[in-house]
């Protein structure tokens, strides 16, 4: 592991970290939901083709925050995202979710964490093809041990909330891309998670549908107070976020709150 690079990144992060008073207009105390400490990820470690995907990233994400991670392809944003979501084990450093170091969890506990504390929204929707919209939404509740009837009722309620009250028994084949992403959003919110991880959720959608999905995610974030972490290329998404994290070459280059930057259609500037 490249120690100097990771130290440099720590310094970068310290310089760019937003002081806690940036949310001073909110009455409640600010809680940290996700804390990444010097997270590194190397592929093919020690081999000639070693790749550094993350070079020591430290980041605090506050409860109820809507945060966007942006950066070019290969900048490490997906890897950071996967480390936070417990999908990849970091090579070095730690990820804490509500004070729990997820590296310490065994496979079953990790599955519990993914089931109860994290909701995933994918670029390609990832609706389970063999199931209806309602079954897709109830699945994580059944995994969590919610009784069938209760899961069914809540599934109907959430699908109505995302505007699919009339599509409950449709399979993915019978749903448009935007509708499938709405199912995925309903499914991600099913177990009242602490965090929603969304990986480029609007990348496969047209502009108008993408905008609807962005509005829906922001509205659900406001209603439920859930922390939303979103990897994105979509400038419209940045417009609704609280903070934006720029990544490049596996390091955080800059963190800014939305009010500090000006978003234009084709560029972002200070």
């Amino acid at each position: 592991m490249n120690a100097s690079a990771s130290n440099q990144s720590k310094i970068d992060n310290r310089q760019s970290k937003i002081p806690l008073d940036w949310l001073s207009n909110i009455d409640e105390a600010i809680d940290v939901t996700v804390m990444a400490e010097d997270v590194c990820k190397f592929y093919h470690e020690g081999q000639p083709n070693e790749v550094r995907a993350l070079g020591g990233v430290s980041l605090e994400i506050y409860t109820g925050e809507y945060i966007a991670i942006v950066g070019p392809s290969g900048s490490g944003k997906s890897t950071l995202f996967n480390c936070i979501g417990g999908l990849t084990r970091p090579t070095g450093g730690s990820v804490f979710i509500d004070e729990i170091d997820i590296a310490q969890l065994d496979a079953n506990e990790l599955a519990w964490l993914r089931c109860r504390k994290i909701g995933y929204i994918f670029q390609a929707y990832n609706i389970v093809k063999v199931m209806t919209a309602l079954e897709n939404v109830t699945l994580p509740m059944l995994f969590a041990g919610v009784p069938g009837d209760e899961a069914q009722d809540r599934g109907v309620e959430i699908l109505k909330r995302v505007g699919l009250g009339d599509r409950l028994l449709h399979t993915p084949k019978e749903l448009s891309g935007g509708q499938q992403q709405r199912v995925a959003i309903a499914r991600a919110f099913a177990n009242n998670p602490a965090i929603i991880l969304a990986d480029e959720p609007t990348a496969n959608l047209d502009l108008k549908t993408g905008a609807e999905i962005i509005d829906l995610m922001r509205a659900m974030n406001d209603e439920q107070g859930v922390t939303v972490i979103c990897a994105t290329h979509d400038y419209k998404m940045l417009d609704v976020t609280d903070r934006i994290v720029w990544m490049e070459d596996g390091l955080i280059r800059k963190i800014a709150k939305r009010g500090e930057i000006e978003i234009k259609v084709d560029q972002i500037s200070d």
Partner: protein
């Protein structure tokens, strides 16, 4: 940082969910299910046919009987292995997604096994009945010495058991592969 207000727990396996996953997967991938069932059915039919027609007593006849028997079993096991590997490969992203939602390794393992066993059982029953009818029919038409009718039920049960065991054997490796698939696979591949 605030006090943690929740405790890590363990997830329990729900057999209802195992069944519903296996059944819905079968419904949607009918082609694959039929292929698996046909493979098992062919082997069971052949085995039953061999067991419902009298075998010659010469060394060469006994040897060729055993050879045919072993080959049919081998072909069936490899066929099930192949069909289930295909079924699992088609579901890479789906399995990854289910694991992202909190699906346990055991849940995936059992649902793939359950799917294979249900399809295998359908194939085994169909195949062994067809094999029995053809065997007895050929025997009767050729007017040769018949296998005692009393021995047939036991042989039928034996063939069913062997066919199911073969299905389990062929499906075990694909099911294991599926269960160990990392959830990150959900991010990969296209629809």
């Amino acid at each position: 940082m605030s006090e943690r207000h929740w405790e890590i727990k363990k997830l329990e396996l729900s057999y209802d969910v195992v069944w519903s996953l296996a059944l819905s997967s079968m419904k949607v991938r009918k082609g694959g299910a039929i292929l698996t069932a046909l493979t098992v059915a062919t082997a069971a039919a052949f085995l039953m046919f061999l067991l419902s027609t009298p075998r010659g007593d010469s060394n060469a006849e006994v040897q060729s009987w055993w050879l045919m028997l072993s080959l049919s079993l081998l072909v069936a096991a490899v066929g099930v292995l192949n069909a289930m590997l295909m079924a699992v490969a088609q579901r890479y992203r789906e399995i990854g997604t289910i694991k992202c939602l909190g699906g346990l390794d055991r849940l995936i393992l059992m649902s793939v096994m359950a799917e294979a066993m249900v399809v295998g059982a359908a194939g085994a029953v169909t195949g062994s009945v067809v094999g029995l009818i053809v065997g007895v029919g050929v025997n009767w038409a050729s007017g040769g010495e018949a296998v005692p009718a009393g021995a047939l039920p036991l042989r039928l049960v034996m063939v069913l058991g062997i066919a199911l065991a073969l299905t389990g054997l062929g499906a075990a490796f694909p099911a294991f592969l599926a269960s160990k698939m990392p959830p990150i696979e959900a991010m990969r591949g296209e629809k």
